[in-house]
């Protein structure tokens, strides 16, 4: 990620560190805020379910992007960390009789600690070797969840009561939207600001050249473990939200497929970009829903071959990802940047 966009010039560090540089960006902020506030009134309950799933995916994807995109540590273990968040919040709430906000907060902490623990191999391993070590952490976490009957209830699903706070029961997607949107916005703000701090900058230094970073006085060990902890904290939050939102916790929701999906979200959205995590989550969660609709249309148009429709849907899903990445390997965020540059310099090419 370039630190600043082309065509925008700074005279002081303070101005460079500012979150928003142009008037257009301020206008966009207002538009986004308006959209977040009005969205649940505009869409049907069906799309609201998808919007809520997107919101949770945004939180998890920002976490993964901090680790993979900003710190350069490829992880295939996101599903495992989501599971830790979901199970710890559910267990703390049910067995520990803690109120939901406390159990979610503790779940975030627990996941951060466990994430740091599984981040230890990152001190020795790099690249794909690390990816497989995190795959191992995913398998180990899910195995523990399945077999540790006394704590997790084994393979049976944990059922959670509807969230109730101050006498109000959060029953509908509409109610949950405000909680999820709140956390998603919080995740975006904290994510953006993390990379204006020294710690965030040291993450990027480790990603770009870890040996040079350590020569500059950055404690690479500490930085990597912290990146794992912070990233897992976001995953823990996303997991805990999933648990309370859906009211049911089962390990089948956190398989390797989910880890791969999250990786897909940040790659399609744009590595090393908070905005990209948001775009990616929107794209990858909406895509199956769109393909389902495409399948319905296909079925009515081509009813004699209805049996082939599911296969066609699978092919289309893969094809969209492949074509997308062939056209723009750096993701949706890059497309957005280029569009902005194009408009900013118009009528000049650059």
């Amino acid at each position: 990620m370039p630190a600043t966009a082309t065509g925008v010039f700074h005279r002081s560090y303070a101005s460079e560190l500012r979150l928003r540089h142009t008037r257009a960006e301020k206008a966009r902020l207002v538009l986004v805020a308006l959209l977040v506030l009005t969205l649940p009134f505009l869409v049907s309950p069906y799309w609201l379910t998808i919007v809520n799933q997107i919101g949770i995916a945004i939180v998890g994807a920002i976490g993964l992007n901090i680790l993979v995109g900003y710190t350069g540590q490829i992880s295939l273990g996101q599903g495992g960390f989501l599971a830790v968040g979901a199970y710890s919040s559910a267990i703390l709430h049910l067995r520990g009789d803690l109120p939901v906000p406390v159990s979610i907060a503790l779940a975030v902490l627990t996941t951060a600690v466990i994430g740091a623990l599984f981040g230890i191999p990152a001190l020795r391993l790099k690249g794909l070797y690390l990816a497989i070590a995190t795959l191992a952490s995913q398998e180990i976490i899910l195995f523990t969840v399945r077999t540790w009957d006394a704590v997790t209830g084994g393979t049976d699903a944990i059922s959670l009561p509807r969230l109730e706070m101050a006498g109000f029961v959060f029953r509908k997607d509409f109610h949950w939207y405000w909680i999820i949107a709140g956390f998603a916005v919080l995740a975006v703000i904290t994510g953006r600001n993390l990379f204006r701090t020294g710690l965030g900058r040291s993450f990027m230094a480790v990603r770009d050249q870890d040996i040079a970073a350590s020569a500059m006085g950055i404690d690479v060990t500490k930085t990597k473990v912290l990146a794992f902890a912070i990233s897992s904290a976001y995953a823990g939050l996303a997991g805990a939200l999933t648990a309370h939102y859906t009211g049911i916790v089962t390990w089948e929701r956190f398989t390797l497929d989910v880890s791969v999906l999250y990786l897909a979200i940040i790659i399609v959205g744009g590595l090393g970009s908070i905005a990209g995590s948001v775009y990616g989550a929107v794209f990858m969660i909406t895509l199956p829903a769109l393909i389902t609709r495409f399948g319905q249309d296909l079925q009515s148009a081509w009813s004699e071959a209805a049996a082939k429709v599911p296969a066609v849907q699978v092919i289309v899903f893969g094809l969209v990802i492949v074509l997308f990445l062939i056209f723009e390997p750096r993701g949706l965020n890059r497309i957005w940047q280029r569009m902005k540059d194009y408009i900013r310099f118009w009528p000049f090419r650059y």
Partner: protein, 396 residues
């Protein structure tokens, strides 16, 4: 230039997809008088369980096509909203929400994943839910008021299997339970142990998890052998169960497999080949060769479409009759002039008395105290590649 071209193409692709989305789900047609009655179906047609999920889903669709072609329910058609969720919980939730939006009156689910994920939601939205997940945790209306279990529960199947083993062995024996490492697989394991203690059966009992994706189960069979197991009860799908059968044959082990319903099918026989002979199957749904009168409609319907029941297998009938039970509940409402809604359908299913399935299963009957449709199940033995009936109505 090249870059701009790329952007345009990517945007065009995105725009194309968004256009498909703009249609939005159709307006509902659920409970109004005279119109079709909408039912949401979650099917696995491309996911991990698509091998059996496809014929099951075709059975549901086949039944509804057949019913509508024969005048529907007192002139009212059933309208299926059927989509593939690829055994992905998040997709199931999306589709469920879409169905609720489309005013369906009931949901036909499929596996453990969607049934577990939705059991709270269906209770909250008051939508009766049937699926092919027969866990005993779903039959208590206090816990899961809107789940209906149409077939013999996994736990009852296990009890029947253990009773049969005890009888077949003529007393003392050792049983090894091989199960899928999941809620589905573990569901009957503890209840089986309890059953042995309660009925004081002289059976040893140990369970072994079957890791998915294994090419052999020789190590597990070795452990079962040192346990002294003479019977292997399998709670898993056909492909791995067939591998166990082949391993037993290759290792010349003297063990008899007792399959619970998900490996008791034609697929097991086809995949295991000669190694399938002599093994036993606990299957609540009558296989195509059983000659049960209830199979005729399905067979004729398939023949009119150029297929055959033998080719589709017993999972087709399973889907057909699961849908039949739900349709009978709706018929009860329509004939009494009651509005077709979720809560009314629940009440109808609980109060209308037994549903006859023409001998495919025992008559299915629910009550306000129990949502367990049937107690008994058939027991079959594989001989010469066919399922031969050992007992028609074994009850625990």
């Amino acid at each position: 230039m090249k870059h701009r071209m790329r952007t345009t193409l990517a945007l065009a692709a995105a725009a194309g997809l968004t256009l498909t989305a703009c249609g939005g789900p159709d307006a509902g047609t659920g409970g109004e008088d005279g119109g079709p009655i909408a039912i949401g179906v979650l099917s696995d047609l491309s996911g991990a369980t698509a091998d059996v999920g496809t014929p099951y889903s075709e059975g549901i669709r086949g039944y509804v096509d057949w019913l509508n072609a024969n005048g529907g329910i007192d002139g009212r058609d059933l309208e299926l909203k059927l989509n593939d969720y690829a055994y992905d919980v998040a997709r199931a939730e999306q589709l469920y929400s879409q169905y609720v939006n489309e005013d369906v009156v009931a949901i036909q689910g499929w596996g453990t994943a969607d049934t577990e994920a939705l059991r709270q939601k269906v209770a909250q939205d008051e939508l009766p839910f049937m699926s092919a997940s027969y866990a005993e945790t779903l039959v208590d209306p206090e816990e899961t008021p809107y789940n209906f279990v149409v077939a013999t529960t996994y736990s009852d199947q296990m009890r029947v299997a253990l009773d049969w083993i005890s009888e077949d062995a003529g007393g003392e024996s050792e049983v090894a339970v091989f199960h899928h490492d999941s809620p589905f697989g573990e569901s009957p394991v503890a209840d089986g142990k309890k059953h042995i203690d309660e009925k004081d059966l002289d059976l040893g009992y140990k369970s072994y998890a079957m890791p998915s994706g294994a090419t052999d189960y020789v190590a597990q069979l070795g452990r079962a052998k040192s346990q002294g197991a003479e019977y292997v009860v399998i709670q898993n799908v056909s492909s791995p169960a067939a591998v166990v059968a082949k391993n037993i044959a290759q290792q010349n082990l003297d063990m008899k497999i007792v399959c619970l319903n998900w490996c008791s099918d034609e697929l097991f026989i086809k995949l295991a080949g000669d190694a399938a002979d002599g093994h036993v199957m606990v299957q609540p749904f009558a296989p195509p060769n059983s000659g049960a009168s209830g199979l005729e409609d399905a067979a004729q319907h398939l023949e009119s479409e150029g297929g055959s029941l033998e080719q589709k297998g017993l999972h087709y009938t399973q889907g057909w009759y699961t849908m039949h039970v739900m349709a009978e509940g709706i018929r009860h409402l329509v004939e009494n002039g009651t509005e077709v809604t979720g809560p009314n359908l629940k009440q109808a299913l609980e109060e209308m008395g037994p549903v006859d399935t023409g001998g495919v299963t025992q008559p299915v009957e629910f009550s306000a105290e129990s949502h367990k449709g049937v107690d008994g199940t058939g027991i079959y033995e594989v001989s010469d590649g066919e399922m031969t009936e050992l007992a028609a109505e074994a009850t625990p």
